[in-house]
Assembly symmetry: C2
Homo-oligomer: 240 residues x 2
DNA sequence: CGCGAAATTGACTCTTCTCAAGAGGGGTGG
DNA sequence: CCACCCCTCTTGAGAAGAGTCAATTTCGCG
């Protein structure tokens, strides 16, 4: 059995009743930010949380999806498959990111956890009720949808026009902006929660090419401390 | 002066007062489909039409955009530039398609007319009023945004994983589904309103490679009647 | 009919892919 | 606690697909 073909429910713990929104790390970055006290009470009633273990699926390409998911902790890989098994990684989700903006009969992509993760989920049938009370919610979904679309267009430019080296640099920069942290000397430490194969499949490169390019960038001094789970961009190479 | 750096207003005729919505070809495919008679009257008051001549810009990457545009007639090329002048075509718009879903300070891409074209435009400040009366409008914007996002993901798969030949076949098929017409023998005639360079820039190929690939496909009999402005997919090669 | 832009074709180069072998690292069990 | 094993990543050598530069042909338009 292929590791791709895992049941959606394996590794997905039973939904938790939270009562934890008060301390939610992504509250304010999520649709919740638009809610007044009354609407928020509604959300707390209809929302639930779910743990997703590493390598388990939150959504599967082609299968129905009824919920909007918000990543509370951890990270996910979004991917699409060609009939012959070639896989394209179309994006990564980190804290505060959404998936499943609209209810669909066939999800356009799969979402798999890169590490043990935690999501909030809002069934769309309830989301509609929430949106009726809080019109800002739909605006936020539109805005987020546009942001995702623009990210996808940047990805298209990367794949269509950039060289291997440019792709790798762009990728490190992109991830660095999302989950990187600057150390005391101004170097940017960029965690890479995904394996090399995922990065290669995101960049449209073979993993050997990715590996060679990382080595070349390290030898040029444009990145340092290249390890399995992170790289560092030296202070003098960090872009604004 | 580069042909890219055209003023947005050159070639954009003064807005017309329409009173033509009754006979609008794309009514029913557009946001208008959600409107009741009262809301529709509102739309007719706040909406206007604009002609855009071939090669003139409807939107320019990096410049503010205040309107939602709906293509009524003609077609557009969406593109993004890299700093060094490399251009990636991110999509094409045909009758009924949208651009500028959200008001932005800096448009993420440029939109240029492939032929003399006609658009409706809805300033976002009025759109907000319309949406207040017709809640379906925002749902439609969300849905359309998702559709665009999914199209972008298909484009990402094309650029990241497909060979030159697969890209060209996918492109012809894609355009064929949107604006192709089947002749009496079941052959699909696919118009190509854009020049080869635009197709190449969409597919992430050099135009010489595109040209060679088209020739090879013609010699294989997988396409016929390859001309400047159209190709034909023989009935036995038309996919469902 | 002829001009000029667009498209095709040709010869050669180079980046990236492919296939293969080797090194590194993390986790488990003895 | 150390050793071993497996999985991931890196490195190497050769092949192939697409890119580059240049010449030629075709087509649309005046």
């Amino acid at each position: 059995m292929s590791t791709q073909a895992q049941n959606k429910d394996q590794g997905c713990h039973a939904p938790d009743r939270p009562a934890t929104c008060d301390v939610c790390e992504v509250r304010g970055r999520s649709i919740c930010a638009d809610l007044g006290p009354r609407e928020f009470a509604h959300v707390e009633k209809t929302m639930a949380r779910r743990h997703v273990s590493r390598n388990k699926s939150l959504m599967i390409e082609g299968e129905p999806n009824e919920s909007l998911y918000v990543v509370v902790a951890g990270s996910f890989r979004l991917s699409k498959m060609l009939e012959d098994g070639r896989r394209q990684v179309t994006g990564f989700l980190f804290k505060g990111d959404f998936a499943g903006v609209r209810s669909t009969d066939a999800s356009a992509y799969s979402a798999e956890a890169l590490e043990d993760s935690l999501v909030c989920f809002f069934p769309h049938r309830y989301l509609e009720e929430i949106a009726a009370d809080a019109p800002g919610v739909k605006d936020r979904l539109i805005a987020r949808g546009q942001t995702e679309y623009h990210k996808a267009q940047d990805h298209i430019v990367l794949l269509g026009k950039k060289t291997a080296e440019e792709r790798v640099i762009s990728f490190i920069d992109l991830i660095g902006r999302q989950i990187g942290a600057d150390d005391k000397d101004g170097n940017r430490v960029v965690p890479l929660p995904m394996p090399r194969q995922d990065i290669a499949d995101y960049l449209g490169l073979r993993l050997e090419t990715l590996s060679r390019t990382l080595t070349a960038l390290r030898e040029d001094g444009r990145i340092t401390d290249v390890s399995r789970h992170s790289v560092t961009i030296p202070a003098d190479c960090v872009s604004a």
